[in-house]
């Protein structure tokens, strides 16, 4: 696991067909009053494989920490695969730490909406993916 | 009577209220008005004993605070500025919050019942409902009656405290709690903010009625004159930048409505 800086950041991946992407980081809070939000967004194409493993570690002397980690994964194509493991290790109590992870496919409502405006399916999916990773 | 003597209130070292003198008599309605940032809500929290608000006295340094005469807030002759929030509540003070907390999982009936049981242990507790002793079933009926008098949707009573409530519903919930609690002194912290016309009327009238019946001293903190139309004030106090700049009767509130705070 690589150690990250505490900043607000969004990391984006487009995992192409046949690719394997691994993001494995520990975000360490070791001083008072550190705040940070990390979001990893990824789209996984058919036959692509993704592993997102992130740990927020808040140590004993990191009072007032405010930490947030989010994974958002869109699976495209029948054989897209993903593993998402958001972890928390919190060693003191005067903090706020949360994480969220969601994995799903293209929202059919969004797809229908774009197609009903005359955009073909392939193009619509492309637009939705672009918006997701914007 | 609530007596506040030369009170200074600091938050994180910054002075918000700078030497407040104020009294509220039983049965009296005192309105605290002022522009945003004048320190109105700070007054409410300081009175209720919120730990973030440091109270000191204009004249005496903090180190002398413990001396008997260096009281800053008294309630019915007893000093309360050195007491915790629950002790002040036990003394009969009730704060209706501007931003009421929600507590997921804490059922409303259960919470009100516990509140009422605690209050009824106090010897001079004058309950809305006599006799003082009620069974759980009677209590539930009583709560439903009170909720109906406030036009509060009864379905809400089955939920957790303030969980998922709209702003207006939360304010009504504060008043419902107040009616169950039956205080001697009531502080309304901007209860009118975010309320529609009908809700404001019902709440203000409800407060006016019970205050009169039970001789409750009321401190109404508000920005606007609206609420005072249904809850008439005996005394109006204007706060600006942490100091009281003007005191008057009902007419003062009407003046503000017409010409604004800047001109006072």
């Amino acid at each position: 696991m690589t150690k990250s800086q505490i900043t607000n950041k969004i990391i984006k991946y487009l995992v192409k067909k046949g690719e394997r992407v691994v993001w494995d980081e520990v975000i360490v809070y070791d001083k008072n009053n550190l705040e940070g939000e990390t979001e990893v967004r990824a789209v996984v194409e058919d036959e692509g494989s993704l592993k997102l493993k992130g740990k927020i570690l808040i140590q004993k002397d990191a009072i007032g920490a405010n930490a947030f980690l989010r994974f958002k994964v869109l699976l495209l194509g029948k054989n897209a695969r993903a593993e998402v493991d958001p972890e928390l290790e919190i060693l003191t109590n005067d903090v706020r730490a949360s994480h969220a992870a969601s994995v799903g496919q293209i929202d059919l409502e969004q797809l229908f909406y774009l197609m009903s405006r005359g955009i073909n399916k392939k193009e619509s999916i492309k637009l939705i993916v672009e918006a997701f990773l914007a | 009577m609530i007596e506040i003597k030369k009170m200074v209130v600091k938050v994180s070292g910054k002075t918000i209220l700078d030497g407040i003198n104020l009294t509220v008599k039983p049965g009296e309605v005192v309105a605290i008005m002022g522009p945003n940032g004048s320190g109105k809500s700070t007054l409410a929290y300081a009175l209720a004993g919120h730990p973030k608000y440091e109270i000191s006295n204009f004249q005496f340094p903090i180190s002398n605070k413990k001396k008997k005469n260096n009281w800053i807030i008294k309630l019915d002759g007893k000093r309360i500025d050195d007491k915790s929030p629950d002790e002040r509540a036990k003394a009969g003070l009730f704060l209706a919050n501007q931003y009421p907390m929600s507590i997921p999982g804490l059922g409303i009936y259960s919470f009100l019942w516990q509140t009422w049981k605690k209050r009824s242990q106090i010897s001079d507790f004058r309950s809305q409902k006599d006799p003082k002793v009620m069974s759980l079933v009677e209590f539930r009926k009583y709560v439903v009656e009170l909720a109906q008098s406030l036009n509060l949707n009864l379905e809400l009573l089955g939920r957790s405290l303030n969980d998922g409530f709209s702003g207006g519903e939360k304010k009504k919930m504060e008043i419902l709690q107040m009616l169950v609690f039956s205080p001697k002194y009531l502080v309304l912290d901007e209860i009118d903010s975010g309320l529609d016309v009908d809700a404001l009327k019902i709440i203000a009238q409800s407060v006016a009625k019970v205050a009169k019946e039970k001789n409750i001293g009321v401190l109404v903190i508000t920005h606007y004159n609206r609420i005072l139309k249904y809850l008439p004030a005996d005394k109006v106090v204007i706060l600006e930048k942490g100091k009281i700049i003007k005191t008057g009767g009902k007419k003062l509130a009407e003046e503000i409505e017409e010409i604004g705070y800047g001109k006072i």
């Binding site: 109590n93 706020r96 730490a97 994995v103 | 704060l95």
Partner: protein, 458 residues
Amino acid sequence: MAKYKYGFFMPEDNVFKAKRGLDESVVRIISNIKKEPEWMLDNRLAAYQKFLKMKMPSWGADLSGIDFANIFYYVKASQKTEKNWNDVPADIKTTYDRLGIPEAEKEYLGGVKAQYESEVVYGSLMKRFSDLGIIFCGMDEALEKYPKLVKEYFGTLIPMGDNKFAALNTAVWSGGSFIYVPKNVKVDMPLQAYFRINSANMGQFERTLMIIDEGAFVHYVEGCSAPVYSESSIHSAVVEIFVKKGARCRYTTIQNWSTNVYNLVTKRAKVETDGVMEWIDGNLGSKITMKYPSVVLVGQRAHGEILSVAVAGRGQHQDAGGKCIHLAPDTTSRIISKSISMKRGRASYRGMIMMAPGAKNARSKVVCDALILDKKSRSDTYPVNKINESEVTLEHEATVSKIGEEQIFYLMSRGFTDHEAEAMIINGFIEPIVKELPMEYSVELNRLINLQMEGSVG
């Protein structure tokens, strides 16, 4: 079973009664005393060999303190009655008083009495169940009376090689419940482990097997929230549940073992088409608990739920959570975990959601909330979500925080002390799970947690 009460033992018994530690002879004697069929003895021996060979888990809580050589692997009921009320730790006795537990029950929980004298009360209930065709008896008895049924299912969901402690249990298991509910029978009141009065309840190596036939329903409750003193430091139970087509099973456990106990449990349910499995898991006691109730959703539209509440106090590590394996389309799962750590305790959520290829339209939601009451306590979340099917949905959320100051002030301004305010907030925090418990348990659980919190402020 009755023969134990009157001290009628086979000669070998007296020899190993005082023997600690485990070897093949102990396994043979256990099987011998129970007069088990050969296949079970073979099973035990094979499991013992597996246990010797398998490694300790490389993850989870710290199990280095387990001293396998120093425990009794078979404790007979009579041995239990040798204990004296004076031997029960003082803090446990105090808790019983505070909870208002009746005298007779105290002795049972304290391990002083072998069984709770309640044959009269429960006898008629048991008759009602058997009239419906329900089998509810101890596992030992089931092996004797229904050997074919037991053999068909035993060890098929949790094989001896599943993990080192499953192997241990398979080698030395004793006691536990066997339940069979016939097709379409819906049991209208919870079956409680207490009802099984003729076996030693709350044993160290209980083995439970439940089969809920098509369209049936049962709610089984084991354990209790009052603290239970156990001399044995390892409790390693195995529970296998088979939920057939359209059936539903709810399994509620509250454990409050004394803080010398390592509580290492393997629990798994297999759920067929349109079946529902609900695990309700309360972990209050023990020094270390490692327990992850699991559901394997093999049939279409099968549903699994795990509701878990864990309280970790001084010297405790609760490592708990759940696993949901989606093997069929349209399956759904939900995990709600609430944990509280205080006084240097550590609560960890460990979970797994797996969606296999072919589990189209599967959906899962996991919510973990943790409260840490003071700055010396700890909370962790270790979720693993393996998605090997693209047409699925997974949501996972976790939050860790302390009790909000504003909430405390709000309740104090209503006349509650800071302790009372904390207790109210905590009760509200665990309410979604507590409300699923049978009434007596929820009342006891709330009071217990409040008791445990005393002295935790400041």
